[in-house]
Symmetry: C2
Subunit: 166 residues, 2 copies
């Protein structure tokens, strides 16, 4: 009569990150056709005081990584933000998919009531696992994936809603 | 040991739609300060072949409405897409919040295994309730809310991540 915490997380991340890899492929084709470097996408921003595409991708990945670790009660691994090419961003996405795939449903069982603590620059956010998932993880994850999509779409890449949903 | 279908839907929609109303308030302030009509936001697009803000809001609302109805096994009410002002969009959002609030957890109990049929222009999409929620409803809902946010943000409205999350 319900959704397991694993079913509400891992397949969601795996699929949308896979969709993102497909957007990158289309972005690369567009760049090749127009004869510009696909790495030029990495610095695009929707507004000068918004984060560039590289950070949108890194944060989406970190959202998935942090969610799986915290719901399983593990320390969140720290990955350096050093990606400077589209290929390196692809590797970050695949590394995230691999990390997510390493979790079993058992590891997340009961995590809807686990207390989750998320450190921020200025404070600690505290949630139940359920609230962490529905009011923090998923809105953030989709914010950064949709913004990545919007940046590529705005830049002329031939992607549509079907590519977004996968 | 899990999340109910109601807990994974109604509070998510209610909160993000409320956040959207707060973005609209900030957008209105920005328009008043700059002395332009707040209704000008409604036709903004991130790309000329993307849907304008009005449609992003309508589709986000319809996603929430359709999800609640279908998971409860009810016919999805049809609402006309006639909004032409920011105030009318606000009313659409509030009407959606009210509609969502009318559902109980009991009505959605067991819906993760219900067969859900979504008619499209060309075919019917069929999902389990679980897949409908995690691979269709939530990605679509967040796509259209994030795009609405991005349009306002891109237009200069003073909103940030905190306004997005609420």
């Amino acid at each position: 009569m319900s959704l397991t915490m694993h079913a509400a997380t891992a397949p969601v991340f795996t699929r949308m990150l896979g969709n993102m890899l497909a957007w990158f492929d289309k972005a690369q084709v567009y760049a090749e056709n127009r004869k510009f470097s696909a790495d030029n996408y990495l610095v695009l921003r929707l507004a000068p005081d918004m984060l560039p595409l590289t950070r949108q991708v890194q944060i989406a990945c970190d959202g998935a990584k942090g969610c799986m670790a915290r719901l399983a009660g593990l320390e969140v691994p720290k990955w350096d933000d050093t990606e400077a090419t589209l290929d390196e961003l692809r590797a970050r996405v695949r590394r995230t998919q691999d990390y997510v795939a390493g979790f079993t449903a058992e590891q997340l069982a009961g995590s809807e009531t686990r207390e989750i603590v998320v450190p921020t620059r200025t404070a600690e956010l505290r949630f139940s696992g359920e609230d962490y998932l529905r009011h923090f993880v998923l809105p953030n994850f989709y914010f950064h994936t949709t913004t990545t999509y919007a940046l590529l779409r705005h830049a002329g890449v031939d992607i549509g809603k079907r590519d977004y949903l996968g």
